[in-house]
């Protein structure tokens, strides 16, 4: 939902000074630093910034572990290969998983668009589709975990080389998978509210007693895209390196 700036007609704000000064005074201006950004959206952005640091630390820790371990690191293209029709195809599962997750960002973006058009059904349907993609991703991840566990990979050891391989793998994909799962749950809850028309009636939240608004679809979308983006980094650093 686009919040209109509630500027009284007739009162024009004075023009900003050019350059850095204008930039600074715009930021420091009255009441809100980011005009047209609602509280919920601002909060999600800042949370995502904080979460970026969490993932950043996980990834840096993984890289340090990988570089300082005494035993050679397993070759990802071999470990993450699937045997299909008698042939080992490297990274095929991850490729599909990545494709599914990125597609889900597309459906999410469409859900946001229909949300602003107040198209209840399409919004809810697209959100559910996004959730379905997300659940598929988690399902494939579970499959990958199972496969590796069958092959003897454990958090504390694995037959392919450095023990830290298994530790980092389960920790980082697990943490990311948890994020996806939480996203799926939220998508379903909010899709249900959209479907029921809660946001058209501005129905109040059960816990917060705040009016529900379509904007929440976009805020959920922000989270979803973020989780997607993080996956791209995990994919690059864990599977392609």
């Amino acid at each position: 939902m686009h919040e209109t700036t509630k500027t009284k007609p007739g009162i024009a704000l004075p023009p900003l000074a050019p350059g850095m000064q204008g930039f600074a005074s715009d930021w420091a201006s009255d009441q809100r630093a980011f005009k047209n950004v609602s509280w919920g959206k601002a909060m999600m952005w800042i949370f995502l910034l904080s979460d970026t640091f969490v993932f950043g630390c996980f990834l840096l820790a993984y890289m340090t572990a990988r570089m300082s371990t005494t035993v050679p690191w397993p070759n990802p293209s071999e470990v993450f290969a699937l045997n299909i029709g008698g042939q080992d195809i490297p990274l095929i599962l991850i490729a599909i998983m990545t494709f599914v997750l990125i597609s889900s960002s597309g459906t999410m973006a469409m859900a946001v668009m229909y949300g602003y058009r107040r198209d209840r059904r399409k919004t809810a349907a697209l959100m559910l589709l996004t959730a379905l993609f997300g659940a598929t991703f988690v399902g494939m991840q579970a499959f990958e975990w199972t496969k590796l566990i069958h092959e003897g990979v454990r958090p504390w050891e694995n037959p392919f080389g450095a023990a830290q391989f298994g530790s980092s793998f389960f920790m980082i994909t697990g943490f990311h998978g948890t994020h996806v799962t939480i996203g799926v749950i939220f998508l379903i809850i909010i899709a249900r509210k959209v479907w029921r028309g809660d946001f058209d009636q501005e129905k109040r939240g059960f816990f917060t007693s705040r009016k529900g608004r379509y904007e929440i679809v976009e805020i959920t979308g922000l989270y979803w895209h973020f989780v997607d983006l993080v996956w791209v980094f995990i994919f690059a650093f864990f599977y392609l390196w």
Partner: protein, 591 residues
């Protein structure tokens, strides 16, 4: 700079921010216990923090008893001593100071001072407190768990933190500690997002960022830092938990313990140190910046003078906050990292001294020719300045690699950090409580008791920590259960240790005076009225005291000026509240 058109007929900026939809409670439970009102949450945070802080205080007595009179108190064995040290440090830094400054003062002051009805998301704010309480309870539980709390030192360095030789290492202690930290961080994040968004997006009309009281600038910057620094601790805690519970080797190299080769191999303990101090150093400023901000306001109010160099103060806060993310490895000079790192981190560390010194100058210049009222808050603020200066100067020594290497892990370090991040912020906490108590309860705290408390605490703290610098220079090590017979420590040093212990007990008793005053004055204090200090900021302009639910009655205040219009020539009074229209244009606000 300020966007309010002063030349136009209508100086009131149009409303951009909608009113908060307040949650109206219907029962006793939702009013006083599961309250979504930031003011109640603030009090819950503060009381919990002080209760657990009291535990940390008692632990410091026990440590001091052992150090002053080794062998006399037989129930304190070496293991217990390490548990006391660890819990004392951890509680003081995180569960007391961080929670009190951000959860306590942040919750109470942010909405009131920026002119909002509440935090932007009161429900998440409430959850924040309950998660904090859970974290505290887990921490307390570790005292009763088999094996007791962890004794790894507040830095929890692996590998020793998870080995059986360390108290709690192979038992519950370390697990509960890490779990407690994880819950603390999740809870803090919920609150912290609220504080940041309220300051950025929830201000009242006319309240530009450059009109915020410095208290808010300090708390705001500290919260942003916490949101970026706690992730490192979170990750480190999760990884160590895995090392301990799942047998992974993130931080664990190959180790032989009691002649037995452990399952771990190939991990890197230094990685933990980097993660820990990437959090740990900003943490110092997370407790220091709110203190800086609060002290600026206390000094300005009680010296009846505008703060000197407001803009500079704001920038100094922001720059200190940013720089403090690139100095962490000055805690690791002796860890064996690449010496070039040491050079880099020593340089950044010394650069931080510049904005910090600037703040000290500005405080002094604010006092210069001010109308200084030696009220309780002012006394504590002055004590803060000298104490912080003192601790800051020893910090310059320790920031240099060559000086730090011999001093590291001696009592000199203990003296330094107690001055700069122990005593100094605690003094501000007291000053702030004496200052805002009348707003919170409607009554003044007792002046005489307060003065006793002040002098005992201030002089006592110096008597405790000043001699420690000397002991440190002698080479007396930190974290030692007892010294035994050592050639380089003269017998007089032992008497000094006894002296310190006795003073520590007296200072501890002094805090009981404060606690008594705190509770006694709720009913028996002098009536304070709405604005006993004749202060300008919005929290003193509320319709009733204590402020009502929703803070400001029917209409939110409109801000016309900065927070420091004290002793303005030509004004009727020696202060002009922020919400008083600027008709005669005599504000001292820089433009």
């Amino acid at each position: 700079m300020v966007n309010i058109p002063s030349s136009m007929d209508d100086p009131i900026p149009p409303a951009e921010v909608e009113d908060v939809e307040l949650y109206h409670s219907h029962s006793w439970w939702t009013t006083y216990v599961f309250s979504q009102d930031a003011k109640v949450i603030a009090i819950q945070y503060s009381m919990t923090a002080m209760a657990i802080g009291l535990v940390a205080l008692v632990l410091s007595w026990l440590m001091r008893l052992q150090l002053g009179f080794p062998g006399v108190f037989t129930f304190i064995d070496a293991e217990r001593y390490y548990q006391f040290i660890t819990m004392h440090g951890m509680i003081m830094v995180i569960y007391l100071l961080t929670a009190l400054f951000l959860g306590g003062f942040g919750n109470y002051l942010i909405p009131l001072m920026v002119g909002a009805r509440d935090m932007v998301f009161p429900y998440a704010n409430m959850l924040s407190y309950w998660l904090y309480l859970l974290a505290v309870l887990i921490l307390v539980a570790s005292f009763f768990a088999p094996g007791g709390p962890t004794g790894a030192g507040w830095t929890l360095y692996p590998p020793q933190a998870v080995l059986s030789g360390t108290p709690g290492g192979a038992d519950w202690g370390i697990v509960l500690m890490l779990l407690s930290l994880i819950f603390f961080i999740i809870g803090f994040t919920m609150g912290g997002l609220n504080y940041v968004v309220t300051v950025l997006q929830g201000r009242t009309r006319g309240m530009t960022l450059m009109r915020l009281p410095l208290t808010i600038w300090g708390i705001f910057t500290a919260t942003v830092m916490a949101l970026l620094a706690f992730p490192a601790l979170f990750v480190a805690s999760v990884m160590m938990l895995f090392d301990r519970l799942l047998g992974t080797s993130f931080f664990m190299p190959a180790i032989v313990e009691m002649g037995e080769q452990l399952q771990h191999a190939g991990g890197t303990p230094i990685l933990f140190q980097h993660l820990f101090w990437f959090f740990g150093h900003p943490e110092v400023y997370i407790v220091a910046l709110p203190a800086f901000g609060i002290v600026s306001d206390l000094i300005s109010t009680h010296a009846r003078k505008n703060i000197f160099g407001y803009r500079m103060m704001v920038w100094a806060i922001v720059i200190i906050g940013a720089l403090s993310f690139v100095v962490w490895a000055h805690h690791m000079y002796v860890s064996g990292m690449n010496p070039n790192f040491g050079f880099f981190f020593a340089t950044t560390t010394l650069i931080i001294a510049v904005p910090t010194a600037l703040k000290v100058y500005n405080w002094v210049l604010t006092l210069w020719r001010g109308d200084i009222h030696l009220t309780l808050p002012m006394l504590f603020a002055l004590a803060f300045i000298v104490t912080f200066l003192n601790g800051g100067l020893t910090g310059l020594f320790l920031g240099n690699v060559v000086v730090d290497v011999p001093l590291s892990d001696t009592l000199f370090v203990v003296a330094h950090f107690h001055m700069v991040m122990g005593v100094a912020p605690i003094l501000v906490v007291f000053g702030a409580i004496y200052h805002w108590y009348p707003k919170i309860t409607g009554r003044m705290m007792d002046e005489t008791l307060g003065r006793i408390h002040f002098w005992v605490t201030f002089l006592g703290a110096y008597l405790i920590f000043f001699p420690m610098h000397y002991l440190g220079l002698l080479g007396m090590p930190r974290r030692y259960y007892e010294m035994g017979e050592t050639a380089f420590v003269p017998p007089s040093a032992h008497s000094l240790n006894e002296f310190i212990t006795i003073v520590a007990l007296i200072v501890g008793a002094g805090q009981m005076v404060f606690l008594f005053n705190l509770f006694w004055s709720v009913r028996h204090g002098k009536d304070a009225g709405g604005n006993p200090w004749r202060a300008t900021t919005l929290e003193w302009q509320t319709p009733t005291t204590p402020p009502p639910h929703g803070n400001f009655g029917k209409d939110l205040p409109i801000v016309y000026r900065w927070a420091y219009d004290y002793s303005v020539p030509g004004a009727a009074e020696d202060f002009i509240p922020q919400n008083q229209p600027n008709d005669d244009r005599i504000s001292r606000e820089p433009s």
